[in-house]
Structure formats: C-alpha cells, structure tokens
C-alpha cells in the first residue's frame, strides 16, 4: 500500500525530537549550530527554533456545517488541550494521526492542511479513550466520523485513490444493516475480502481451517438461518426517507 511507504518516510533530521513534528514545515524550523545566548552555550536541543506563522485565510462557514451534524455537534467546545492525542490508541502506531490537530483544522476550515492527512484520518479504531478523557466533552471519537464526512465531501478524488477500501467496506455494512436489518458476519467477511481484492486469502490454510471448524460444529448453518426481522421493510423505507431529506454534509455532496 502507498500508505506504508509514507509511514516509513525517513524523518527529517531537522527538529526530529519535536513532538508532532509532521505539523511543521521544514523551512519553519531553524537549528543553530553553536548558539550562545547571554554568554550561555545552548547547544543540543535548545538550539531549535520554530518560526511563528500567521493563519488568516480560513473559512468559518465551514464550522457551522460540522456543527449541524449529529457527530460533530460539539466542535465549538474544544479548547485544544491535546488530551485526545495524548490518550489516543492509534497515535503511537501512526504518528501523523493527531485528533487534536484534526479538530483544530476543522475549526478553522483549513482544508489545505486537512488534505495532507486523508490517508491516515480514517484509522480511528473507535475506542473512545479520547472522549472518556476530554475535559470539555467534545467527543473527539465521533469528531473523527465528522472528519470522514468532510473528507468525503471535499476530496472525492482522494477518497477514490486512498480510501477506497474503507469506503467500500462501510458501504457493505450500510447496505446490509439498512437492507436486511441484521448483520451476516460470514457474508460480510467474504464480500469485504472480495472488495479489497484479497479473494486469494480466502482459500488459505487459516481461513479454510476456520470454515471447516464452523461447518463441523454447525455454526456455519446458523449463519444461513439468520433471517430478516419481521416487518423490516417498514423501518427500511422510513430510514431511507429520512436519509433523503436530511441536510448533513454528505447529503450536499452532489
């Protein structure tokens, strides 16, 4: 995957010990070789400086758009303490996944910056540690869902090239849950593997062993028996009508 290459990108030597280094452009970091301030030699870490920058070109109308969704309704409460990033499960694995920064960019409507993170933004595992620890109940975990909506609206070509897998799997879930009312796990597994282009793995030893085991103890047949709830059609139609009428970010896409 293209993504892996990006994660393994060699860290710029310049300012590499800065936390959230990825948020700062290379030419904004200045490192003096041997710096003496007021007669004190401040070599080493202390000789790194980050040049200040001014963001003035942003669009606040965007803020309203996020606030109107169910998942992003608390974006105005965030005061950027960074507790979400500090407690995040994903950040240690992917340094560029930084919920605090994402929320900041969303508050400012800074689409130019957000675009750089399309490839990691979907990696949230939904563990809700951030929402648990957030002192302002911003609910960053759900804010990441709002971010996904936003990315879908403003960067469709990026989604097509980088997030295809995530979007396809999400679509399978949605079709199955809205259409049938229940989740067929076997079907979900098989169709998502197909969508990801990994059909070959389905006939690997591990998968075959698992399938054989489930056929043997009868669980494979219980999957087939999982029927639709009675009268599900009524709920399905009502939900589809609702989705037609609401004006969330994703609805205004087209």
């Amino acid at each position: 995957m293209a993504l892996e290459n990006q994660e393994k990108r060699p860290v710029a030597e310049k300012g590499e010990h800065i936390i959230a280094r990825h948020l700062i452009e290379d030419d904004r970091i200045e490192e003096e070789k041997n710096l003496v301030i007021d007669g004190v030699d401040v070599s080493g870490r202390w000789n790194t400086f980050i040049l200040s920058r001014v963001d003035s070109d942003f669009d606040r109308s965007f803020f309203r758009e996020i606030k109107d969704t169910v998942v992003g309704s608390r974006i105005n409460r965030c005061w950027q303490c960074g507790m979400c990033t500090a407690s995040c499960t994903v950040t240690p694995l992917y340094r560029r996944f930084n919920p605090r920064a994402f929320i900041y960019m969303m508050q400012l409507g800074n689409l130019k910056e957000l675009k750089k993170y399309v490839d990691v933004a979907w990696r949230c595992v939904g563990c809700y540690k951030c929402s648990q620890r957030c002192p302002k109940q911003v609910n960053p975990a759900e804010m990441m869902e709002a971010l996904a909506l936003l990315i879908k609206k403003y960067f469709p070509e990026e989604v097509e090239s980088k997030l295809k897998v995530d979007e396809n799997v999400k679509k399978i879930y949605e079709d199955m849950i809205l259409g049938h009312g229940r989740l067929d796990l076997a079907k979900l597994h098989i169709s998502s593997m197909q969508k990801m282009g990994r059909t070959k793995e389905l006939i690997g030893k591990i998968e075959i062993d698992a399938i054989f085991k489930m056929v043997k103890d009868g669980r494979a047949f219980s999957v087939l028996r999982l029927s639709r709830p009675h009268n599900w059609r009524k709920s399905k139609e009502a939900m589809e009508n609702y989705l037609k009428n609401i004006k969330t970010i994703e609805q205004t896409t087209i």
């Binding site: 929402s131 648990q132 949605e174 999957v223 709920s235 609702y242």
Partner: protein, 307 residues
C-alpha cells in the same frame, strides 16, 4: 409474546451471538438461569449499527432504539440486557443522546411514526445493561460464590474489558452512577473471577483497544494492538484471556492464527468468554460451555490443569 414474569429479563442477543459466537450466548443464558434470572430473547430484533452507522444522523439512533421499543411493547420491559459491548455502547449512546437532546428525540420519533410498526412515541426511560454489570448488580459476587461447585483453582485468568464496556462515561455513566464500574480501572470481572477461585493476573492492557472496529478494513492496526495485549497477558503468566465482547473475540480469537503467523508464538494465548468460565465453575460440562468453539484452543490448557 407474553409479558415478562418475575425473575425474567429482556435479552437482546445481537447478530454475532446468534451465529458465530453462540458459545457466549448459550453460556450467558446458562449462567444467568443458574443465578436465578431467566434471559428472554427479544424476537424480531435488528442490528444495532455496530459503530459503522454513526455518520448517518438519526438513523444511527433509530436502529438501537427500535429494539428498546420492541422490548417495551412485547415484553413489557423498560430495560434491555445485552452481552455484546458494542451493542451496549450503541444502545447507551442513543438513549443518552435522545435524553439530553430534544431535537434528536424528535427526529427519531419522526422515523418511528413514519415506519408505523410499533405504536406510540419513544420515551427514554429505560436503560441498556451489559450482562456483566447486570449480574453483578442484580445478583452480586456472593451469588457467584454460592453457585461455584467446581472452583477454578490453579487457573490464571487475565480479564480483558476492552473499550466500550466502560467507556465513554458520557454515555455509559460509569464513574457517575455508584453501582456501575470504574471507567479506567474496571473491577467487576476481577471480582467474579476471584469469587470462582481463579487467580487474576494483572498485565496492564485490561482496557486497551483490540482494534476490532477496523478489523475488516485495517487488519494491520488491529493485529498490532492484539499482539500487544496477547503477549503482555502471556508474559504475566496468564492461562487465558477472558473476554466480555464478541467483537474482541473476532479480533483476538478468530484472527489469532494470523497474528501468531505475523508476530510469533509470544502472541499465542487461549481466549475464552467470562460466562464460559462461570458455566464451568457452576458445574456445567466443558461441552455445555462450548469451549471447543474457540479457535485459540482453550481445551488443551483446561485439560492440562485437570478440568
């Protein structure tokens, strides 16, 4: 369907428990019955949305709340007991949201009205209850001690709570209601295991995430998180990792052969559900507790320990 009698509780099975994770479903029912509460399955239930439907507005709340309505109209029960942590999260999220936000309640009720399937408006007066919390509060540790006929002496168990059983307290009200667990250091499973005579192992990843939410889309992340948890528990000397969520089982048990293939034997550890161990301690056979359903092969260790 008849209304509930005394000592019965409305039970929402969810999709995984009726099919692949039947071991958890059946053992939960066995254990509850032994402790004096019969779980009555809700018919015609629908999927709760398993965290994939949050971005579609009020639909994400309609899905779980339809089940609450069904439970009330058919079984006459305000509360609904469930064994899956993800379902528990989706239910408590929806109930809390419509309770705190009149607009969202109105939106959900509009969908209910249009569907016209169940009469009346939704009133958020019931609670979603996780089976662990339910048994702990309704029956308590003493009842577990009383029912234990075959103490789990010599078994070292590593309790794994996962994310959504105790988090976030803005939805589950852990820390806020005195009878609920602690959100950062849950202890109900510890208490149950100790009451059954097992030795509880502390390993530091009790409330870490298994990456189960993205287990389909993002195996890479999930495998890393799972191997951390499994190897930490193994290093601490655990014989089992004890779960209370079928989605965690999907990541830690079903995918374990793949994790071992990638990260080595350090991540090889049998995984069981809490209710399976409880069934074993309450005198049910290994077959009744359906240990053979688990892919990580807990039977081998049980045999070694003389069970």
């Amino acid at each position: 369907m008849d209304k509930l009698k005394e000592n019965q509780a409305a039970y929402y099975p969810g999709c995984a428990l009726l099919t692949i994770d039947r071991a958890y479903n059946n053992s939960s029912k066995l254990v509850s019955k032994k402790m004096g509460i019969e779980l009555v399955e809700l018919q015609d239930y629908n999927c709760c949305g398993i965290g994939e439907m949050k971005s579609v507005g009020a639909v994400s709340m309609y899905l779980p709340l339809r089940n609450m309505m069904l439970a009330k109209s058919r079984l006459g029960s305000k509360d609904l007991v469930m064994a899956c942590s993800v379902c528990y999260h989706e239910f408590s999220r929806s109930i809390t949201r419509v309770r705190e936000n009149k607009n969202e309640l109105a939106e959900v009720n509009a969908i209910f009205k249009e569907a016209g399937e169940i009469e009346g408006e939704f009133i958020p007066d019931g609670e979603a209850r996780h089976i662990l919390e339910f048994l702990y509060n309704e029956k308590g540790v003493d009842e577990v001690k009383k029912n234990t006929v075959k103490p789990l002496k010599g078994l070292k168990a590593a309790p794994y709570y996962g994310c959504l059983y105790s988090r976030p307290s803005m939805y589950t009200f852990t820390d806020k209601k005195p009878n609920l667990d602690n959100s950062e250091r849950p202890r109900f499973m510890h208490d149950f295991l100790e009451a059954m005579g097992a030795e509880v192992v502390f390993y530091g990843n009790e409330v870490q995430c298994c990456g189960g939410r993205n287990v389909v889309q993002d195996e890479e992340t999930s495998f890393k998180l799972c191997s951390q948890t499994l190897s930490k528990a193994k290093k601490a000397g655990a014989d089992f990792l004890v779960l209370i969520c079928p989605k965690c089982a999907g990541a830690l048990d079903v995918n374990q052969p793949k994790i071992v293939e990638k990260f080595g034997k350090d991540s090889e550890l049998p995984v069981v559900y809490l209710t399976q161990l409880m069934a074993l301690a309450f005198g049910f056979s290994k077959k009744e507790a359906e240990f053979s359903d688990m892919i990580s092969d807990p039977l081998r260790v049980l045999k070694e320990k003389g069970f």
